[in-house]
């Protein structure tokens, strides 16, 4: 059961959970804000659309292709 942080709040998830799923388990499911100010959430679920990009331990990564790990810091884009 990895214990991670989503926008600073602790969250524990089942083993093998994707960060994309964690966004919905711990908050409203959104990942970023678009250039014209719309909130966006993961779309394709498979690494194509890039809608799910977030900061993971300070690096820009795709939430749908990253597994949650103990101590991971995930930051969505307000």
């Amino acid at each position: 059961m990895p214990e991670m942080f989503l926008d600073g709040r602790p969250l524990s998830v089942a083993n093998g959970t994707s960060v994309a799923a964690a966004l919905a388990l711990g908050a409203d499911g959104c990942s970023r804000t678009s250039v014209s100010g719309q909130r966006r959430a993961p779309l394709c679920g498979m690494g194509t659309c890039q809608e799910c990009r977030v900061l993971i331990d300070g690096r820009r990564r795709l939430a749908c292709q990253t597994l949650c790990l103990d101590g991971m810091q995930v930051q969505t884009r307000p």
Partner: protein, 418 residues
């Protein structure tokens, strides 16, 4: 930390796994690379809410026992560094891999077409929703509408229901006659017959398509055109996908010819570039059985075992028949080309609306005028949509093939491994 290998395989779905296993018996050194954290590709995506069939587990275990196969998970291809040398990146580092032979098993992605409201949180692809659920997305008690085209709608619905979602409607754009005709042919491919039959759902409607996703901050409902009538359903999620399109970008960048939107291959699964092979859905949409047999043929052929490759031709022909029946039955209706309105965003990366794109002659002109396709996905979503809507040929892929870290790009300066 650069690497050299006899055979490099890109993509660890059914095709890539079968290719690695077939080639492994020859004893050559093999690298199998995939951008997902776990092998399996689309159909065998593992996760806390996934149930893998035993055949998939068996294949995975067999691969793990091959001492000459090295797997790189969570690794993507960034650029061509030199002849037969690719620059790749994982979460930690970037490095170059030099190969003698290459097999492209990059699979397919969903065709996502723009319609009003499709950027609202709560709207996903159809296979996209299935993938997200397998990765742990909670849907218990949620009301779902699944729309678009193809058997993936039923597969996605089955996964969602298994996780406790309430599927209100499965909207298939194809007409009843086409779907019934396809179902009638299924006994020719027994495995598939039972698979589709067990997935059948009483909320399935043919000749039905999405018109608009409704909601302000997130999805609240959907408007459908159902057999000639407009209906609205309140729902929490809309999963919408219009079939699959082959991932040809990397193959194109390596100089392999494309034919009819897929990588062109001969009977040995060889592409038009010497020593470069392709198998599975990057050569055309056809399901996992076809991907497995094509992968095995490519694996045998790439290590010079023509006899073993040739033995599989008959089996491949059988599943090619299935692929043809599938693609004919679920051909997209032209009315789906008029779903977007002037203010509907087409490029989700740069927020370019449909109204700014109509009237242009081609992709290049539209891109220069509007920034369409210049964002993070590099036109993988909007390029495919505009090819469908306007017949524009999508841009030739340019490195970096996906967003990369500066440190990785600096690796291009390194002398390639000899």
């Amino acid at each position: 930390m650069n690497e050299a290998t006899d055979l490099l395989i890109i993509g660890a779905g059914p095709a890539g796994m079968a290719a690695a296993l077939a080639a492994a018996s020859s004893g050559v050194h093999i690298v199998l690379l995939d951008d997902n954290p776990l092998p399996g590709g689309q159909i065998w995506r593992d996760g806390p809410q996934a149930s893998l069939p035993s055949a998939a587990r068996h294949l995975r275990d067999q691969l793990r026992n091959c001492a000459n196969v090295r797997c790189h998970a969570g690794t993507r291809v960034i650029a061509c560094a030199a002849d037969k040398t690719l620059l790749v990146e994982d979460a930690e580092r970037g490095w170059q891999i030099r190969y003698e032979r290459l097999i492209l098993c990059t699979g397919a992605r969903e065709l996502l077409l723009p319609f009003p409201g499709w950027t609202l949180p709560g709207v996903t692809g159809a296979g996209g929703l299935q993938a997200l659920i397998k990765g742990g997305l909670p849907v218990r008690g949620e009301r779902l509408v699944i729309a678009g085209s193809g058997p993936l709608l039923l597969a996605s619905a089955a996964t969602a229901k298994h996780q406790g979602a309430q599927v209100l409607r499965i909207a298939e754009q194809a007409r009843f006659g086409a779907v019934a005709g396809f179902a009638g042919q299924l006994p020719r491919w027994p495995g598939k017959f039972f698979q589709s039959f067990s997935l059948f759902d009483s909320h399935y409607r043919t000749n039905t398509h999405v018109v608009e996703a409704l909601g302000r901050e997130r999805l609240e409902g959907v408007r459908l055109q159902q057999q000639g009538q407009t209906i609205e359903l309140a729902c929490d999620r809309l999963a919408c996908g219009f079939g699959l399109i082959p991932n040809t970008q990397l193959g194109q960048a390596l100089g392999c010819a494309v034919e009819g939107q897929a990588l062109a291959v001969d009977a040995w699964q060889a592409t038009t570039r010497h020593d470069h092979y392709a198998a599975g859905e990057c050569t055309g949409f056809g399901g996992s059985e076809l991907a497995l047999v094509e992968g095995a043929i490519a694996g045998h052929a790439a290590v010079g075992n023509s006899a073993a490759a040739q033995q599989l031709w008959l089996r491949r022909a059988r599943w090619q028949g299935f692929a043809r029946a599938l693609n004919t039955a679920f051909a997209l209706d032209p009315r789906l080309k008029s779903l977007a309105r002037g203010d509907t965003l087409v490029c989700r990366c740069e927020d370019v609306p449909y109204g700014e794109l109509v009237g242009h002659e081609n992709w290049r002109e539209a891109k220069l005028a509007s920034r369409c396709g210049m964002g993070a996905c590099q036109g993988r979503v909007c390029g495919a949509a505009l090819e469908h809507l306007f017949g524009w040929t999508p841009p030739a892929p340019r490195p970096p093939f996906s967003p990369a870290r500066i440190e990785t790009l600096l690796e291009l300066e390194e002398t390639p491994p000899s």
